[in-house]
Symmetry: C2
């Protein structure tokens, strides 16, 4: 068996990805921060909520006044005021006293707990009957319960979820400092590929990769710049690459990396001053013909043309680069949840390759079964009908039915 590429292992690609620089930081309006990445650690500049607050509607009390009370042996407290929402109470709770308070209201000095309104009854204008004993701190959110001044709440590289956007809002950070989103130039090539709105002649297929890659780029937190479909000829490849180098931070060229066209793609990438070939071939399946030429800070990537292989290659190679450019740890399938399952049937793996097998998850009653989706790796239905991916490590010739596997689930 001949070796066509000097293949490297996937770990080597991630090692190289780790050397990519994080993009610069920028201030972003908080409304636009969802899914973006923190450029620095987020530190609380104040205690949060900053004062003791009630977490219930009820009465603020000194808890020891409630000790021993019950339905059959109620206690009676003197009502000395109402806590007005959004203001510091102008009174203190002494022994035997209470104040009406709503959820979120500021606890008056002296009080250390709240008795829920359900466990009270106002007997006259100045008297409240209480029937439940509470411990100090009951139904109270402490002044530092959400955060303590100086505490690191989120770290650099964290991708903001709704709750994190809320945390920024609670701290008054209305224009957080975030990593700029990488712009990703997407180029499709292949003489058999036609634009998506074109009728197909025999032998032709539509330009699917431009759409799947743009969507994957967007989900990875970057910005796709679709540069279109170019023919399998050197001047066209060079021209499209030049535009992407000029406008974007990373280039994804799909199609030109199989044995027939790989040299042309590689040569187009290497025709630019400062270009350096880092990777040509990785011991994975699918994704083996991957090309990485680095030009300054800009990775130029050649991905397989087959649509499903191209999707896997994006997750294996391009997403870790984008993760790094966003200041995160480079990792394949970074956004995929992991679940345990048993393999539904025997599968074999070609020697010398790490295999990324598409599977469907089926609930069997004895737990999840991962059913390999047979069919050629180029088939999109391995992604549309599948639920996730199982990795068969290098050196393993196959896995038996019933083997415990970890499935990386499509988000």
């Amino acid at each position: 068996m001949k070796s066509f590429f000097e293949t490297v292992r996937l770990e080597r690609v991630h090692e190289l990805a780790r050397q990519l620089a994080t993009l610069e930081a920028e201030n972003v309006p908080l409304e636009m921060a969802l899914g973006r990445t923190l450029a620095g650690d987020l530190r609380a500049d104040q205690d949060l909520p900053g004062f003791d607050r009630s977490s219930m509607d009820g009465y603020a009390v000194q808890s020891r006044d409630s000790f021993g009370v019950s339905e059959s042996s109620p206690g009676y407290l003197r009502l000395v005021g109402d806590v007005v929402m959004g203001r510091a109470p102008g009174f203190v709770i002494d022994r035997g006293e209470c104040a009406r308070i709503f959820t979120g209201g500021m606890l008056p000095a002296g009080a250390d707990a709240v008795i829920q309104v359900e466990h009270t009854r106002q007997t006259d204008e100045r008297t409240v009957e209480v029937v439940k004993a509470v411990a100090p701190g009951t139904s109270v959110m402490g002044a530092c319960d959400d955060a303590r001044a100086g505490q690191v709440l989120l770290t650099a590289g964290h991708r903001l979820r709704p709750q994190d956007v809320g945390l920024l809002a609670s701290l008054g950070v209305h224009d957080p400092v975030l990593v700029r989103r990488p712009k990703v130039g997407i180029i499709s090539t292949g003489d058999e590929v036609v634009p998506v709105d074109r009728a197909l002649a025999p032998g032709q297929v539509r330009d699917v990769n431009a759409f799947t890659l743009a969507a994957q780029v967007r989900e990875a937190g970057a910005e796709p710049v679709v540069l279109g479909l170019v023919g399998d000829d050197a001047p066209a490849l060079v021209q499209a690459t030049a535009i992407s180098l000029d406008r974007c931070d990373l280039t994804l060229l799909s199609g030109g990396s199989s044995v027939g066209l790989r040299d042309m793609t590689r040569d187009a990438f290497l025709s630019f001053e400062g270009s350096k070939l880092l990777v040509h071939g990785v011991s994975v399946s699918p994704g083996k013909p991957f090309i990485w030429v680095q030009n300054g800070r800009h990775p130029l990537c050649g991905l397989p043309g087959q649509v499903a292989s191209c999707m896997v290659a994006f997750h294996l190679f391009a997403e870790p680069m984008l993760e790094r450019m966003l200041g995160r740890e480079p990792r394949s399938f970074a956004r995929f949840a992991r679940v345990s399952a048993r393999l539904g049937r025997n599968v074999s793996a070609p020697p010398g390759r790490e295999v990324y097998l598409r599977v469907a998850l089926v609930e069997t009653g004895q737990g999840l079964s991962a059913e390999p989706l047979l069919g050629k790796s180029g088939l999109l239905r391995t992604f549309t009908q599948g639920h996730g991916i199982v990795r068969i490590p290098l050196g393993v010739e196959g896995l038996l039915q019933g083997a415990d596997v970890t499935v990386m689930v499509f988000p």
Copy 2:
């Protein structure tokens, strides 16, 4: 113990949500389709790929010509042509013949398999040595392998992932018919709440809910319309609600639904002609004071003001409504993956409530442990430091350490 609301069970809310109408359909450019929802079934109007294609670089052959060949006993085939990418080959493969073909090339008539180039050697201009036997169909993607004409590939209500966008592209659907995204009016209220860019006086907190809800709405596939912060007074609530009824498909008002302000919110919602109270109080914690007033096709929702409770309530009540308006099955925590874990410590649940407990997931070596995040339910850190939510069903007084639980993992 007094009952303050006529509470209903969560299932009742979902039953009512099921009666909401799906919004109208619209054509959307495929570039904008990621995360959107199909309005109708997607049917293949043609076979895909539509012709037999090679999934490897190599030689197209009649497989029977390879039977019995091996490294030690090679076969020899006459090279009769090259398959040009994107064109139907103008020749036929007869017995003893082969043609050079690249990945994605159209199989010539007569050929039924491809021998990978790694298992071949061109010995002269017209002769190829082959050293591996292949079965019929080897390294060939059949004409209908991705789809058969008439087959339903995706069903109405499906939310489009990158692979689904690719499937649409492969079918030439460049402006799919999708359900319009619901516009969601977001109103914050509470006299203690101030805008996010304001310095805090004692007793005040910032308007976090506007940001968390807007982000949650966006992740649910709908469009947030932030209508701002209004005071706890009836005319202001009515005015803000009127704007939302006019501009949006659903309203989320946070803050005015606790016992102190619930009547004001409810009355504001009910002040509009055609309004009907559907729900006032649900037997869940957090989220109990939820209000649902229906006005025509527009749900008016009152959510708790406490930030974490408000986030849970969104998932419990509002997201199922949005799911339904998008043509999907209404379900709480619809986008959350489920993982199995063991509970890290005992927890108790208040009687008569279904509890949604925030937990952190910890890998123990014996599988995942779900550690309850103690602290008041209003605390945002139960979301920022947690990984997911465990449901304690109605009628269960608590769960013991070590109990098997299902964790709904934050996306």
